[in-house]
């Protein structure tokens, strides 16, 4: 069966060869075999080199030979020249084909079988004579039907997965004359479009598989487009670099489909368990993949992963990748994660980064949050609503007394404001003093951002003034006094504070 398959492939190649190699692509006047019927007794008169695969003698006839008849008198002048031959990666050989057929016939004869008509020595017309042609020179490029007349083609279609490509084709490196445009037009086997093909195409791939199949269409650049560890892949060693493929892939980014293992729910937390197979990781990941999340010395792992190189594949770019839960809102919702993970944060972040938001306060005033500020641009003029709604607690980073009050004073909003502007915030509210109590309890932080404690003590001290009790229903004086009688003494006459 194997031999029959090869024979079928050869026949198919013959067809391609006839249409590809011998078919002139360009030239002035074309030679018509049928119009010259009867003038030439043998094909070899003009195609002397074909039986020997002597390419330079494929057209052994010359323009001068034509002029022997086409001299302008006996026949009209012609402008004929040897046609250009089309480059190909088909591995058909006239002599090889003839030898194979002859050998097969000899073997059959030796086995006592009669050679069938179709298995006898082949003439040129066996493949090139047209199906309807009755005359000797009624020939054309070989047709598939002519090949299949002898060869039962085993592959249901070209590019069949189980076929061996090199039965009919040579590798790219051997097809040196094939232009890049033709390579880019190579048809893609159907299985290459399968989603599973990319992640699994290397499974069990032996160097000989690569040489027999992949090498027909691919060069080393096909691997290095994605694989950072191509030097460590044994199979890839059979592919050689090819400038045509390099040019075709120059602007083609690598593809790194996410393996099924990476989609498991706990992969981010458990991937350390896979570190014994770092060689597999290196198919897609550079050392930079690790350092995108893990900062610090982990050289024993990093050394096993290739580093990115200029012009080389980037591998999976994990820069900016976030662990589960690190949604954009995490920037203001990270407290629980940060305070419970003594070590986890530091794998990605420097502690000093916390100060970028928590302790900056004056840098880049007016800059938007994506320019290394925390608040959005324009925040100074519209922060009032956010301060009241406490989406983030101002006092986590700002001192109400030394930060907020200072500015509110100078801008004329607060009681201690600039000349001519005193307490502009509560303007046009003549009854504010009467109804401020509820607002004060609800927004005490806002009060403290403008008012001095002494402002309240004018009325709420137990020592003087109106002596209005400010304590709410749930206030436990003893509980506070146990911790700070000094606080109590702000409003109340103190007892002996010594010795507490």
């Amino acid at each position: 069966m194997r031999r029959r398959g090869s024979a079928a492939a050869l026949a198919f190649l013959a067809l391609l060869a006839a249409t590809g190699v011998l078919l002139p692509l360009a030239g002035a006047d074309r030679f018509s075999h049928t119009e010259h019927e009867g003038l030439f007794p043998s094909c070899l008169g003009c195609h002397l080199g074909i039986p020997e695969d002597a390419e330079e003698e494929y057209y052994s006839v010359t323009t001068e030979d034509c002029a022997a008849c086409h001299d302008g008198d006996k026949a009209e002048l012609v402008d004929w020249d040897e046609p250009l031959r089309r480059a190909t990666n088909v591995s058909f050989s006239h002599s090889g084909h003839a030898n194979d057929v002859a050998a097969e016939a000899a073997a059959d004869e030796e086995a006592g079988e009669e050679a069938g008509e179709e298995e006898g020595p082949l003439s040129c017309g066996s493949c090139h004579q047209t199906v309807s042609g009755q005359e000797f020179m009624d020939v054309a490029a070989a047709e598939p039907a002519g090949c299949i007349g002898c060869h039962a083609h085993q592959a249901p279609e070209h590019l069949e997965t189980n076929e061996v490509c090199t039965d009919c084709h040579v590798s790219l490196s051997a097809a040196a004359r094939l232009p890049a445009e033709r390579i880019s037009d190579f048809p893609e086997p159907a299985d290459h479009e399968d989603e599973a093909f990319l992640p699994e195409h290397g499974d069990g791939l032996a160097p000989e598989d690569l040489a027999d199949n992949c090498a027909v269409c691919h060069a080393r650049e096909s691997c290095t487009r994605c694989h950072l560890n191509v030097d460590q892949i044994d199979a890839a060693s059979v592919l050689s670099a090819d400038f045509r493929v390099a040019g075709l892939l120059a602007d083609s980014a690598g593809e790194w489909p996410e393996p099924a293992s990476h989609l498991q729910a706990d992969y981010e937390f458990e991937h350390a368990a896979a570190l014994d197979s770092l060689a597999t990781c290196a198919n897609c990941h550079a050392a930079e993949s690790c350092t995108a999340c893990h900062q610090g010395p982990r050289s024993e792992f990093l050394a096993q992963l290739p580093a990115r190189s200029p012009g080389g594949p980037s591998g999976i770019d994990l820069a900016g990748a976030r662990p589960p839960g690190h949604t954009p809102a995490f920037v203001t919702e990270h407290r629980a994660a940060a305070s419970t993970s003594e070590a986890s944060c530091s794998t990605c972040h420097f502690e000093a980064e916390c100060a970028d938001c928590h302790s900056r306060q004056t840098a880049d005033i007016g800059a938007p949050s994506d320019s290394r500020g925390f608040h959005p641009g324009n925040f100074v003029l519209r922060h009032g609503a956010e301060a009241f709604t406490v989406q983030s607690t101002c006092s986590d980073c700002h001192s109400a007394e030394a930060f907020c009050r200072d500015c509110h004073d100078r801008s004329g909003l607060a009681q201690g404001g600039a000349a001519g502007a005193v307490g502009a915030y509560h303007d046009a509210q003549s009854d504010w003093l009467i109804r401020h109590g509820s607002a004060a309890r609800l927004g005490m932080e806002a009060c403290a951002s403008c008012h001095q404690q002494t402002s309240c003590l004018r009325c709420h001290s137990a020592k003087f003034g109106l002596r209005v009790n400010p304590h709410g229903p749930g206030f436990d004086p003893q509980r506070v006094a146990d911790r700070s009688l000094v606080s109590c003494a702000s409003c109340h006459f103190s007892t002996d504070l010594e010795g507490i």
């Binding site: 610090g296 589960p324 880049d364 800059a367 509980r479 000094v486």
Partner: protein
């Protein structure tokens, strides 16, 4: 601490840092130095008035023909507030952050120093010309970590720093224990409570420095489940009273791809939970993700203030947000909303809102060299409300280099006054990164259109900023790129 102490501390830290980073094998330093400047234009409010007799109408509250609301005193004046001429001021900040290691195995030094200069004292803290955010020595062992100096902490009680020492012991894996103590600093000021900042800002400032002591117990049951509980006490240095006594409990768990977080802060003095928050987020099929938050909030005040004695109240809140991301297309969409219920203040007939709500939506897009961000939020609550959005778009030219324009318009309402106004802004921002250096710059023009204010008043203000930062040094085994925009 006297004003000279930070200088001495910084000098000592720098000297130590320099000593540990002399060019010997396996030594190194990594850090960033930056200088940033901002120039702002603000328009302070000024009182304006007319004789009461010249303002038509009756009563205390009257409206001028241009819509300006006034407060009138019979037989005297009707007054209101208008914008004055713009005041332009500038703030320049210099920072250096550095980590050095290698002189002694496992020993490293960390410094974060800041110098600040303001053209005047309009912008807060510009009279604090130098501050040490952090300056400490770190000794790291697999089971023990010790730190000494000005230490920054990020824990269940937030981000703060103090002068002292901390010891973290990991010998009880999966648990760890940390104890710390020293001189406390006023939060957000990088200075003692008795420093000049609070002394100048408050009529009743603290009169004693504070001592801080705390302990934290943490457990990491698995890479996916961890928690901490901590207790902290801040005491007057004369030990007459506490400045605060607080505790926190935080839990974090990852269930599949879902993330659960619980955090709480408790104020022992007022028997009040300042924060209880439960948050869950999870990705969903199709690029969606959802997060839900339940939160209780009540403000915390240190015991050197009288604010806590006024029984401040907080609110309970629920938030839900849904996001959708298409990573290949570089698109992120978000939308969500929440409801807030304010606690009863015990004062009837206040006329204030008893609940609030918020809704928001936004998008981010990052394409081939282009990006755009937009958001809109409505936030209605006690005290104030806002409705508005931001839009920005730009082009990137490699990592850390971009040019963008932005615009915003927000309508704000002040329930406790400063009335209704529209805040509009247009700006341009850019950054240029070359190697480890990044230059940022931008400018914007902002405009206020306020109702009930004089119509002819000009509230236009400008902002300009520029900064240059440069990273230096390398990690012992890793060199990573900028995480800039």
């Amino acid at each position: 601490m006297t004003p000279r102490r930070p200088y001495a501390l910084a000098a000592a830290a720098l000297a130590l840092s320099a000593a540990t980073t002399s060019p010997l094998m396996a030594q190194g330093v990594r850090g960033e130095i930056s200088i940033r400047g901002s120039s702002l234009e603000l328009r302070p409010l000024v009182r304006d008035s007319l004789p009461e007799s010249s303002v038509s109408g009756q009563g205390i509250r009257r409206v001028l023909p241009d819509g300006t609301r006034t407060t009138c005193t019979p037989d005297l004046f009707c007054q209101w507030f208008a914008s004055s001429s713009p005041e332009m001021f500038s703030v320049v900040t210099q920072e250096i952050r550095a980590t050095g290691w290698g002189f002694v195995p496992r020993l490293s030094t960390h410094v974060h120093l800041r110098g600040r200069y303001g053209s005047d004292e309009f912008w807060p803290l510009t009279n604090q010309e130098f501050e040490a955010v952090a300056a400490y020595v770190n000794w790291e062992h697999p089971t023990l970590r010790a730190r000494g100096g000005r230490i920054t902490r990020t824990d269940g009680l937030g981000y703060y720093n103090f002068d002292g020492a901390s010891v973290l012991w990991r010998g009880l894996a999966p648990m760890w224990v940390e104890l710390y103590g020293g001189w406390s600093l006023a939060r957000g000021l990088n200075a003692p409570r008795t420093g000049n900042l609070l002394q100048q800002a408050d009529d009743l400032p603290p009169d004693e420095r504070g001592l801080i002591f705390g302990g934290q117990l943490g457990v990491k049951l698995s890479p996916r489940v961890s928690g901490t509980v901590m207790y902290q006490r801040q005491i007057r240095s004369d030990r007459l009273a506490l400045y605060s006594e607080r505790a926190s409990l935080d839990l974090h768990a990852a269930v599949g791809r879902a993330s659960l977080g619980f955090s709480s802060e408790y104020d022992w003095a007022n028997d009040e939970f300042n924060e209880i928050k439960l948050r869950a987020s999870t990705p969903l099929p199709g690029g969606f993700d959802v997060s839900a938050t339940a939160r209780h909030y009540s403000p915390f005040f240190e015991l050197w203030t009288i604010w806590g004695a006024f029984s401040p109240t907080g609110f309970d809140e629920g938030l839900l947000s849904v996001g959708w991301s298409n990573t290949p297309a570089g698109i992120r969409l978000e939308a969500g909303g929440g409801y807030r219920d304010y606690e009863d203040t015990g004062i009837t007939a206040s006329g204030l809102r008893e609940n609030g709500w918020r809704a928001f939506t936004g998008f981010r897009w990052q394409g081939e060299g282009w990006f755009a961000n937009g958001s809109y939020a409505a936030d209605v609550g006690f005290g104030a409300a806002r409705f508005g959005g931001d839009l920005s778009a730009g082009r990137t030219f490699g990592e850390g280099t971009f040019l963008s324009v932005r615009g915003s318009r927000t309508q704000t309402f002040g329930e406790l006054r400063f009335n209704e106004q529209y805040v509009s802004g247009l700006g341009v921002d850019g950054a240029l990164t070359v190697g480890e250096a990044t230059l940022t710059a931008g400018a914007s023009v902002n405009r206020l259109d306020g109702r009930e204010r004089p119509a002819d008043a000009d509230w236009t203000q400008t902002r300009v900023y520029a900064g240059l930062s440069m990273r230096f040094g390398t990690e012992p085994s890793v060199r990573h790129g900028s995480r800039g925009p």
